[in-house]
Symmetry: C2
Subunit: 133 residues, 2 copies
Amino acid sequence: MFPVSSRSQYGIRALVYLARKQGHVATASEISSREGISAKYLEGILTTLSSAGLVLGERGKNGGMRLARDTSEITMRDIVQALDGQVRPVACVDAAGDCSQGGACLPRRFWLGLKSVIDEYLESHTLKDVSES
Amino acid sequence: MFPVSSRSQYGIRALVYLARKQGHVATASEISSREGISAKYLEGILTTLSSAGLVLGERGKNGGMRLARDTSEITMRDIVQALDGQVRPVACVDAAGDCSQGGACLPRRFWLGLKSVIDEYLESHTLKDVSES
DNA sequence: ATAATTCCTATCGGCTTAATAGGAATATAT
DNA sequence: ATATATTCCTATTAAGCCGATAGGAATTAT
Ligand code: FES
Ligand code: FES
């Protein structure tokens, strides 16, 4: 229950790797071999993180990936949101659906509360927390 | 991200329905038609909840399902655990895996913390909370 | 030029899961 | 007894998701 996708797990490990590079570049293939992650798959993950503005991709020879901001300004929520979208335990988080209880749906409140505690946990932990010992 | 399965959503709605019956029986087909849930599918879900000891199934004519305990003694964690297993964001929740960081793996601590906040939220909400207005 | 890298698009195979089907076991009502 | 209504059990199917792979285009340094 509540599984986190490989995308997010890989992405986090890659960012932790980059964090330890202190802003220097590392190539996708370097990270993939060091972390034991499928090279092409990780490449796509890093591209996504680049689109999200979390890392800067530098193309061409001697290129690579570097963190776009300080580790303390990248929350874990930024990361998983970029890779797996918004925290959404149930579809009716966005709009109350067709359940029998209509607008006053109590389960919905319960799910919204769950979304909140997850969001708050993710937001209160930064890449700095997760990459430093 | 963090989707909750239809199994759990359906199961919760069924239990809320039963909660409002104040301990009286309701058949699976009654619940399915009232809640707009596939009849046979819900039937299996209720059987699972019965195995887990959350509801009592009474077979034969005039049989049905009733809550096994008071609504205040059924936590939301009981329900989702019965239907979708333990809260486990990542596999290494149980045993540290083969990630490059070994025993001192910081991501793992982060995931364990996430598991905790989810577990605590689920445990601190009961069927009573979710079924009463 | 050449090499190395990110970035883009498409596809595949396996797994999960919601849903369906058929029936066995069991209990009540008539 | 018989018919009926129900939970309970076991398979199977159809569709979607996801990790992974493949091939190349765009870009940049040497
Ligand atoms: S609106 Fe989602 S369960 Fe009621
Ligand atoms: S042990 Fe799971 S990420 Fe390190």
